[in-house]
Symmetry: C2
Subunit: 227 residues, 2 copies
Amino acid sequence: MKIGIFGTGVVGQTIAGALEGKGHEVMIGTRDPAATQARAAEANARGKTFPDWHREHPAVKLGTFADAARFGEVVVNATSGNGALPALEGAGADALGEKILLDISNPLDFSKGFPPTLTVCNTDSLAEQLQRAYPRVRLVKTLNTTTAALMVNPAAIGGGDHTMFVAGNDAEAKAKVNGWLGEWFGWRDVIDLGDVSNARGLEMLLPLWVRLYGAQGSPMFNFKIVR
Amino acid sequence: MKIGIFGTGVVGQTIAGALEGKGHEVMIGTRDPAATQARAAEANARGKTFPDWHREHPAVKLGTFADAARFGEVVVNATSGNGALPALEGAGADALGEKILLDISNPLDFSKGFPPTLTVCNTDSLAEQLQRAYPRVRLVKTLNTTTAALMVNPAAIGGGDHTMFVAGNDAEAKAKVNGWLGEWFGWRDVIDLGDVSNARGLEMLLPLWVRLYGAQGSPMFNFKIVR
C-alpha cells in the first residue's frame, strides 16, 4: 500500500519505519525537503536527525507535503500540534482530496515549559479544526494517546493487551483504520468513540499522559479500558 | 474510623454505604439536613432519593457540612463539581482544619446537555481551586476517574486489575489515602502523580470517560495503566 506521512520527527520516523518494514511504499512529506536533508547537525530532541534516520531507511521517499499527500492512498499526520494545520495547508485541498487522514497530532503547548498545556481543548479540538479546514478529508483521530514505540508495537508491553481509540465522522474510514491498526501494528482492542468531536477526549488525555510519564519515568505505558 | 462525607447523591450514598458496611462510623453532610430528609418525592436522576436510601442505612448520620467535617477524622467530598466549593464554604475553615480531604468531585458543566464540558481545565483544576481556598486542608484528588459502583468495588470488573490515582501536595496524606483505598475498597494499583496540579490530568480524563460511557453503553469500566 502507498502511504504518505506528514512529519519528520520521532513519530513520523517510527511510523514510516514500521510501515516500510511491513513492505509498504512510504513517502514522508515535509515543508522543505532540501532543508530536511541538510539537517545533519541538529539532533532531534528525542531521536535521530532525519538524515541519520534516512540513511537507515533509504527506501522511504522524501517529498513536500503535497508530494506525500498525492503519493499516499492514505495519509498519516505525524506532525507536532503546531505543525498540523501548516502541513495540511502545505499539502493543499486538491492533493488531500477525500483521502483518509490518520491524525496523530496533539495540540501541546510547551512554550511555558513542562508539563505542557493544550492550545485547544474542552469545547473544540485540533482534529476538529483540521476537519473544518479540510471538510472533504476523511479524518480519523487515532494513535495520539501513546508513545511512538508503542503505536507501532503494542506487544512491547503487557502482551499488547491495552486499548487504542478511533474518532471521526466517516464510518467506512474508521472501519478501514481499525483494520489497518491491527494489520500494520497488531492492535487488538480498538474502541470507536463516535464522531470527530470525540477527539476532544483523546487530546485531553495528554495532560494525564505527560504526568504519568513523569511519575513512571518512562513513556512505555498505555491505557487499557477494563470492562 | 469516623468519616464525614459531603454530598447526598449517588457518589455520597455509595461511599457512605460501603464504609458503613466495613464498620466505620459515617456522617453525611448536606446544606440543609431537614430539606434533604424531606426530599421524598424527588427521585435522584441516577439513584434513590436520600430518604429512601437512608431508611436502608439508618446507622449513617446526617448533618450539616460543618457537622460532617467536625465528625470525620477524614472528610470525603462527593458533591457535584458545582457543589464542591459551596460545601467547603458550608463546612468552614475551622471545622475542616488540617483534615485530609478526599476530593472526588468533577467540574462537569451539563448546562448545554450531554456530553458535558468542564468548567475549569488545562491551566487550573477544581481541586486546585479548593486547595487555594482552604490552604490548611490536606486535599487528595482521587476516585474521580471511575463510576461510583467501581470506586468502592474495583473487583466488580477485570478481577480488580485496573488503576486508581492520587494527586495532592501532602505526601503523608497521600500515603494514608493510598492505604485506605486498599483497606476500604480493595484498590491494588494506585499511582501517585505528584502535587495537586496533577488533578488537571485526572479531571481532564472526564471528557473521554463520558464518551466511553456513551460508546460502551455502561459506566462499568475503568482505566488500567499497562506498563
